[in-house]
Symmetry: C2
Subunit: 242 residues, 2 copies
Amino acid sequence: MRSFLLVGQSNMCGRGFIGDVPEIRNMRCFTFRNGHWGVMTEPIHVDAPVFGDLYGDLRSGTCLAASFADAVQRRQGGEVGLIPCAVGGTTIAQWQPGEPIYDNAVFQANLARRSSELAGILFHQGCQDTGDASSAEGHHDLALRMLRALRRDVGAEGLPLLIGSLGTFREGLLPYLGPVEAGLRRIAGELPRAGFVSAEGLTRNPDGVHLDSRSLRTFGLRYFEEYIRLEGAEADMEGKGL
Amino acid sequence: MRSFLLVGQSNMCGRGFIGDVPEIRNMRCFTFRNGHWGVMTEPIHVDAPVFGDLYGDLRSGTCLAASFADAVQRRQGGEVGLIPCAVGGTTIAQWQPGEPIYDNAVFQANLARRSSELAGILFHQGCQDTGDASSAEGHHDLALRMLRALRRDVGAEGLPLLIGSLGTFREGLLPYLGPVEAGLRRIAGELPRAGFVSAEGLTRNPDGVHLDSRSLRTFGLRYFEEYIRLEGAEADMEGKGL
């Protein structure tokens, strides 16, 4: 089984409304929870309530990783496992080595490696750091540091790393979006085997912040296309003896 | 915050149908997931699908730990955290130290200890080992070994340990239930600060195996009563200078 580590905040967790898009049922895709692989079903992350109205209509739901995993499995075969470690509302400071959510992600990835080959990292984080100038300014360096450390700590410095664009928002909603987004794009160029995934044209829930189910399906396929591109680039380098 | 580690198999995970009983909403009860405390909502364990019919009507649902946590919080005050680490369908052999689900439980408990005081372990396991004579016969020793190791590995050898009865089943359904149940009851006497929680009169889902929502609420309150009894016994010993 090839496995993929999922890290970041709410748009990686997935807040798409269940039922807005058809269920993806692929008996060769799995989710890793509590040391155990179970057949993939949504919600994949359960960091927010699934039922009820504790936070209005904000619930754990559709996740971009579902269409990603399904595409990897159907196009490349084998079994595909997801390791869901994203947590909604988290800043890049909370994702630094030594912080609980970072340490958990490293532990889960290494636990999953006992029974799978870790094949990539899917990252989507940044919105939480767009509220003020100093958070936004510090984001690039902290994200770069965290992603470097993460690949090292899961034993694979050249692991394909897919970084998602934050996309566009209603003007003024995330005041310092620009510098955070630019920093993420820069990281995809600074790190080896890293790719940037476009969020162009994606649409959101009525809250204006969280991607809707249909867009999450599309976004997952774009993560897959970028994964294929990184794999191709690698194969190309290997072919040339680089 | 006082926290409680939840380990075992499906009747600890909870397969009660959501909606059969009123939601428990207590903003001072939390669930630990991916290194983060979120307000407690059900399902607390998500080891099985939440939606759909992948396994018929077997879904992650109501959990005995919800009424337990709510009772601890309302009767004793403070904040209460749950650390859900049970996995459905697991044998006691899969829960031995060095196995992934055991190692995960130890990691989660220790990660939660950074931000809470670990106050007890809730255990419900055994059904999966009632199918043949040799599994049933070996269950007592393996469970005793696992529970001793678990308390040691989470840094609290005298941690209150609550062991749930498997209850009664339709005749012949779990052929070697008797010896496993007897072994569990024996362990509660063999280990310090351990208690046995009765499942008398509890009822099940149509599958005949999983406790229904109403019974899970009751079972959680019985776990709480046993927890109180263990605490009282401790206070009594301390009072006598023992």
